[in-house]
């Protein structure tokens, strides 16, 4: 609890420095949050260069529109929303997002405990990047950013039902991939054991 309060105090101090256009505060904010923001961009936009460009332009927006941050919510949450919105508008600009395809549900569930022990974050990032763009976007917004279907529908200008169907298809694809990875892990451990 105390830790959290101290964290938000620091956030507010940094935000205040940025509000005054102080370059040191801006750099501190960048150093602290750029990695997380870039990670968000990479989940939406697979190409690294493109994702980084979005991250940089999002930071310029953050520093220029710092006055719009009222200080009542978390500074990081405010920045995340800006980054996510920039990613979405980039996706809208450049791609045809939604593809419908029928995917049969899988019966078996992957072993999450095993996967959690053996999979790196980078592996999960890759799984998300490999998703078709519409699935990926809805999955990111709903499952990781925590938007509701209504919010997703508004953000992407689609029907709520579309959001739901894209999400369930994304889950199916991810589940399939996780299953495949699980098999690989099992195979590796088994061959290790046999040695």
């Amino acid at each position: 609890m105390r830790l959290q309060i101290r964290k938000s105090e620091q956030e507010h101090q940094l935000a205040e420095g940025c509000r005054n256009g102080d370059r040191k505060s801006q750099k501190a904010v960048y150093e602290r949050y750029s990695g997380r923001m870039l990670s968000i961009c990479l989940r939406y936009i697979a190409q690294r260069d493109e994702a980084e460009d979005i991250m940089i332009s999002a930071f310029t927006k953050i520093f220029q529109k710092i006055d719009q941050y009222k200080g009542d919510g978390s500074f990081e949450g405010w920045m995340r929303r800006i980054v996510v919105n920039d990613c979405l508008s980039q996706l809208r600009k450049s791609r045809n997002m939604y593809l419908e395809s029928s995917i049969e549900m899988l019966e078996t569930e992957p072993d999450f405990h095993l996967l959690e022990d053996h999979l790196e974050v980078e592996d999960l990032m890759r799984l998300i990047s490999d998703l078709p763009i519409g699935y990926r976007t809805v999955f990111n917004l709903y499952a990781i950013e925590g938007y509701s279907h209504k919010e997703v529908a508004e953000a992407l200008n689609i029907q709520e039902s579309t959001s739901k169907s894209q999400l369930s298809r994304a889950r199916v694809l991810l589940q399939k991939e996780l299953k495949r990875l699980e098999d690989q892990v099992n195979f590796k451990t088994r061959s290790y054991e046999s040695k």
């Binding site: 997380r36 990670s39 999960l124 499952a143 990781i144 589940q175």
Partner: protein, 261 residues
């Protein structure tokens, strides 16, 4: 809402994941922050440039209107000149003095704006001086004298007698303004302005100036006749009446000038 296991699995691992930006990312961000400030400064420069441009155009337009004003002034002059129809001679004198002052200002502007050939400039200045002198004379004499025309003739005679004709001619057509009564001084001033303007557009106005020069000589002859007593007061009055009637018919300032001549 029941959280999906896959959702949870991913969000737990990815929520606070941080990727490493490339080394030059901050400097790129910094350079994107800088140009915004420079751009803002640039916008101020643009404002300044536009303001200066407006000033320049305004100035040019003002000059243009000032250069074209003699026409307007002549029109005003002709309007004023229509007054003598009902007015007495004292009123006529006033009419003579006022436009004169205006015209001096105008000539000043002309001198300031365009740099003419040295001789011409000198002439214009001389005319200004003589005009000013005449103004002084007129102002001093006006209140006490009943018949200005008579006084003018006296003065004419004196002045012409004093000055040597050869000198007058060697100085050009300008100096004799002193020997002509105030009504004609306006025209002299006009004449000088016309000559002056003629410099910039020689083709269109050379004939006009020639005509004026000869007309001016005629005026000089009349003045000499007055001096020698060949033309009396009555004749002068007739000339003046002609002038007034011609103004009434008249095609503005152009005609008034001819009649005076």
């Amino acid at each position: 809402m029941k959280a999906n296991k896959i959702d949870r699995f991913f969000s737990k691992k990815l929520e606070n994941h941080a990727a490493t930006p490339s080394a030059d990312a901050w400097s790129r961000l910094e350079s994107e922050l800088e140009p915004k400030e420079k751009k803002r400064r640039f916008i101020w420069w643009q404002f300044a440039a536009v303001f200066l441009m407006v000033l320049t155009i305004g100035g040019l337009f003002y000059n243009w209107t000032v250069n074209n004003e003699p026409e307007n002034l002549q029109n005003e002059n002709s309007i004023l000149a229509e007054l003598p129809e009902t007015a007495n001679e004292a009123l006529e004198r006033e009419e003579v003095q006022e436009p004169e002052a205006v015209r001096i200002d105008e000539s000043d502007v002309l001198i300031a704006e365009i740099t003419p050939e040295p001789n011409e400039k000198l002439r214009v200045e001389k005319v200004l001086k003589t005009d000013a002198n005449l103004n002084l004379i007129a102002n001093n004499t006006a209140p006490t004298i009943a018949n200005p025309v008579e006084i003018s003739i006296e003065k004419l005679a004196k002045l012409v007698a004093k000055s040597e004709l050869e000198n007058i001619e060697s100085l050009g057509l300008v100096i004799p303004t002193e020997v002509i009564k105030p009504t004609e001084v306006i025209q002299v001033a006009n004449y000088e302005v016309e000559i002056y303007r003629g410099l910039s557009k020689p083709d269109a106005t050379t004939a006009k100036t020639q005509e004026k020069k000869s007309a001016f000589k005629k005026a000089l002859e009349i003045a000499m006749d007055v001096k020698n007593g060949e033309i009396g007061l009555d004749d002068l009055r007739d000339l003046k009446d002609d002038l007034v009637s011609n103004i009434e018919d008249g095609n503005k300032a152009e005609k008034t000038r001819k009649v005076v001549n």
